[in-house]
């Protein structure tokens, strides 16, 4: 539709400009304009002579143009086309120029265009939202978790200022599948204290699929999936890239990064890297000692056209992080931890420093992948993918042997995938595929601690089929999937005696989706699906004192005949009652795209049988003081909620966006609240966007107030002191509690400004502009310290 109107407009321009070009013509410039990625000629692209803009022509159906340039023998031309980045180049007369235009996500509604690109078979009926390159590069130092927090219905749980995990519809951790460049990110995905080691700056776009996307992507996607896509490496593109440098006030952090890419006829490549160094952050009132971070990343890729219908892609990425954790969150004993809980201010506050001491996490992640895309014909397509991932993690705790890691793990993941997308008829098309995933996790000896999780060898084989049927304005989508998973586990008991076990899980999952275009502006999507997730190793086998608290996995404790908890042996899977999580999720979304606004609402209900969660169970007495104790537990849970977004334009330059999310969740088995669920939040953005303002080509300003409510569905509060003093007795049947009540609601004012001039861009972001004192319910550090104070970030971009 838009292409046609653009073409007509261009055609009339073409005729119009030709009528003026009837003067004496000495020279002309000729050329052809292509879409750099698809290599299709672009009809209706506008070619104008720089300095003489009224002299312009449009390309014809074959993408060809002829532009008279008068007496000069060469001319500088500017090529523009809606949805593509403008190109400026000098062409000599008599030469036949070949011009490749790259898609420009900025000038189109980024959400739609990226959304469409990511809408692979099997996800059409799901609610998807994306973050484009523009927003990614504006948030140079943000983690994947905080960045995704920009999407309605997505929040993040954090473990201090460096570790953030996305939460979709109340689910997080290993219930969110993270696909890095098409592969399940193979990392130590357990607890709320392990964030995915992905350098978001290496991603071209990031999308969130808010549904049980299990059929397409496999188990673990109970809450949804986060998909990052790397550089598309278009063929026939000149050397281009970007460089960025930034500074942030909170933590005196600085970062710099570079991105390069180039494409030839049959070969293209890209290369990049980033460095991010931050020191101790601060709250409005005090330093958060040991919250610095150091992150280094490098990434590169190459694409080969083996033949016209066979394309090979190789990618490699590396990331290394050293993340500090708030010093005051760790007591070297239980007594110290309790003091930290009870203190108004952290008990350890030192002067600002870039040093990272214990507690900290030192992580490195390699991902190497190979993809083959074979287009048999326009309707049939085969894709083969292989990836190797190596993840090393060392965690350091405050302890006497502080130079030894308390956790030292190496995880290797191999992933083989093949799928075939096909068209059975004009109305039916689909995809069938299979996957083998192998994981091997090993504890490196010498920690002086009984391994927190055991060694394991995991194997998973999966098959899936998704078919889509088109009927008028509606589309039906049906998917089925089968997974088989086997794990062999070997670890150490408390006494250092070894134990081993092996067990398997298998499951069928299915999804039924429906998309209906009610009218041109309104689309309705509905997806009902099942998903499942086998318990992970930490949920089963966690054991020991980690961060001065005791944790016991599902197989690490049992109830004896007298009803007392015991942990003198590891329970085998076969005699335990542990079962895989099974989810039944129904998501409905309505989207209205008007000329001046966009409205979207998504409503969901998710029932999860055997939901696994972490909860306090009491306080254990030790010589080192009372130690808060947590266990993993299972119960049936229900989640329901609503995400709303409304965007509208006040005038060509002013626009507004308001959004809110509400989640209601309950442990339905015991009729009590769940722990660590996101509270309600409302956010608003007032934006100003104008081209050619003063000296700038483009100026953007935005004000972003937001309010997060107190979590009123939190468990009751039972203080550690109450338990020690015997005012409360806790056992497995007691009502769930937490050691602290949820913090009060808070208001934050954020904002940003961005100015562009030529290839340069300058952006300024302010977070917590009012320097508000607050604590976030989903930040594990809320027990010990306030959240971050005002942070001003200044970034300079250069694109070429």
């Amino acid at each position: 539709m838009t292409k046609l109107t653009a073409f007509i407009a261009a055609l009339s321009l073409f005729l119009w400009s030709n009528s003026f070009a009837s003067q004496r013509v000495d020279h002309t410039i000729e050329g052809t304009v292509y879409d750099a990625e698809s290599k299709f000629p672009l009809a209706g692209a506008i070619i104008s002579l720089v300095g003489e803009e009224s002299n312009r022509v449009a390309t014809d159906q074959q993408g060809k143009f002829v532009l008279p340039i008068g007496a000069a023998d060469k001319g500088e031309i500017r090529i523009t086309y809606v949805g593509f980045k403008p190109v400026q180049t000098t062409v000599k007369s008599g030469e036949k120029a070949v011009i490749n235009l790259e898609t420009d996500e900025k000038s189109l509604g980024a959400v739609e265009i990226r959304g469409d690109r990511i809408r692979t078979e099997g996800t059409k009926s799901l609610s998807i939202e994306s973050i484009d390159r523009e927003l990614i590069s504006r948030n140079q130092t943000a983690s994947l978790g905080t960045l995704l927090g920009n999407i309605q219905g997505v929040t993040f749980a954090s473990f201090g200022s460096n570790i953030q995990l996305p939460i979709i519809h109340g689910l997080y951790g290993n219930r969110i599948l993270i696909l890095n460049n098409g592969f399940k990110h193979g990392f130590q995905n357990w607890g709320s204290d392990h964030a995915p080691e992905i350098d978001i700056q290496s991603a071209e776009s990031i999308s969130v699929i808010k549904g049980a996307a299990a059929v397409r992507f496999g188990p673990d996607a109970l809450g949804g999936a986060v998909v990052t896509e790397s550089h598309s490496m278009p063929f026939n593109s000149e050397l281009n890239g970007s460089a960025v440098a930034g500074f942030q006030s909170n933590g005196r952090g600085f970062n710099t990064g570079i991105n390069l890419s180039e494409g030839y006829g049959n070969f293209s490549w890209h290369l990049g890297g980033n460095v991010n160094i931050v020191g101790d952050r601060h709250t409005p009132d005090y330093m958060l000692t040991n919250t610095g971070a150091r992150e280094y990343s490098a990434f590169g890729g190459a694409k080969f056209k083996i033949s016209d219908n066979l394309i090979a892609k190789a990618n490699y990425s590396f990331m290394r992080q050293n993340l500090g954790i708030l010093r005051a969150s760790i007591g070297s004993s239980g007594a110290a931890l309790i003091r930290n809980f009870e203190a108004e201010r952290p008990v350890i506050i030192r002067d600002f420093s870039y040093d990272i001491n214990e507690p900290n996490q030192f992580v490195s992640h390699h991902l190497a992948s190979l993809k083959l895309d074979w287009s048999i014909d326009p309707d049939n397509h085969v894709s083969f993918r292989y990836a190797f991932q190596s993840n090393g993690r060392q965690e350091f705790d405050v302890r006497r042997n502080a130079e030894l890691p308390i956790i030292d793990l190496n995880l290797t993941t191999q992933d083989i995938q093949a799928d075939y997308s096909h068209k059975l008829s004009d109305r039916i098309h689909g995809i069938v595929g299979g996957q083998i995933l192998m994981q091997s996790n090993a504890n490196n000896p010498g920690t002086g601690i009984t391994p927190f999780i055991p060694n394991y060898e995991g194997f998973r084989a999966s098959m899936f089929l998704v078919e889509t049927l088109q009927r008028g304005n509606s589309e039906w989508e049906l998917g089925i999937r089968y997974d088989y998973e086997r794990n062999s586990v070997a670890g150490r008991e408390r006494t250092q005696a070894s134990f081993s076990d092996s067990f398997s899980f298998s499951n069928f999952t299915a999804a039924l989706g429906f998309v209906h275009e009610i009218n041109e502006k309104t689309t309705f999507r509905s997806n009902v699906g099942t998903g499942w997730r086998p318990p992970n190793m930490a949920e089963l086998y966690s054991f020991g004192q980690h961060e001065a608290r005791q944790l016991f996995g599902l197989l690490r404790y049992y109830e004896d005949a007298e009803g007392n908890l015991q942990n003198d042996r590891v329970v085998s899977m076969s005699e335990s009652g542990v079962e895989a999580e099974q989810s039944y999720k129904w998501v409905n979304e309505i989207e209205i795209n008007g000329s001046k606004g966009r409205f979207s609402a998504s409503f969901y209900a998710n029932y999860i049988a055997n939901f696994i969660f972490w909860r306090p169970i009491g306080v254990v007495g030790t010589l080192r003081g009372p130690m808060p104790t947590y266990i993993f537990d299972q119960a049936n849970a229900f989640f329901t909620g609503l995400d709303l977004t409304y965007e509208w334009e006040h005038s060509p330059n002013w626009s507004s966006k308001i959004g809110g999310s509400y989640i209601w969740s309950q442990n339905v088995e015991r009729n009590e609240p769940l722990i660590n669920q996101p509270p309600i939040n409302i956010n608003y953005q007032l934006a100003f966007d104008k081209r050619n303002v003063g000296p700038f080509d483009r100026l953007e300003l935005a004000l972003q107030p937001m309010y997060t409510f107190r979590q009123f569905q939190a468990p009751r509060e039972v203080t550690i002191r109450d338990i020690i003093e015997g005012n409360v007795t806790i056992d497995l049947d007691s009502e769930i509690f937490d050691f602290l009540a949820p913090p009060p609601g808070y208001f934050l004012l954020n904002g940003f400004a961005k100015a562009e001039k030529g290839d340069f861009g300058l952006s300024l972001q302010v977070h917590n502009a009012l320097n508000t004192r607050y604590r976030d319910y989903l930040n594990a550090m809320r027990f010990f310290a306030d959240d971050l104070g005002r942070n001003i970030m200044l970034t300079i971009h250069y694109k070429f």
Partner: protein
Amino acid sequence: MYKTNKLRPLWILILSIFVFAACTEAEAPEEENETEIFTDIELIFTAEDGTVVRALAEDPTGGLGINSSFTIQPITLKANTTYTLTFEMLNRLVTPVEDVQLEIAEEDDEHQVFFEFTTNAFSSPTGNGNIQNRNGAVNYLDFDRNGLPLGLRTSWTTAGPRTNATFRVWLAHQPGVKTATSSAQDGDVDWDITFPLTIVE
């Protein structure tokens, strides 16, 4: 027919990956010595005449039990006697048994022992100790590399007879925090044990 033959090595490869990977058994990680645990903390009061009084606080699981508990023996001292207090801090979960005190002595600039006792149970030091009040009197006999008190050796002169008294010992871990004015309230607590105290004729 030809086609099947060509694909056969591929199928065999895939099948062997499948079978091999599906049957890999994990091997147990190496045994670790749990070095971060106190199972025994013993107070050793040695009188000038060589009489030794011991009081043991014992936690057999080192806090690794989900129902961990510990026992504390009472201290019985003689009135009007001067004792030197030293410690034995052991981790009996490892072989050979670990003397944790050696490590604390090595990191003397990061540690300090603080005391609290029933008011005026001792004639020297007097008062009720330095846990609540940093300036409370305690007779330290050892000092760290910065000349600050350490507390692995202290001197105690009992006052008159007493029953139902308490003697609390607090090992503070103060990496980068220990100064001439730092108190028990600074840094972390390695352990904090309150013993029943009786002083007899």
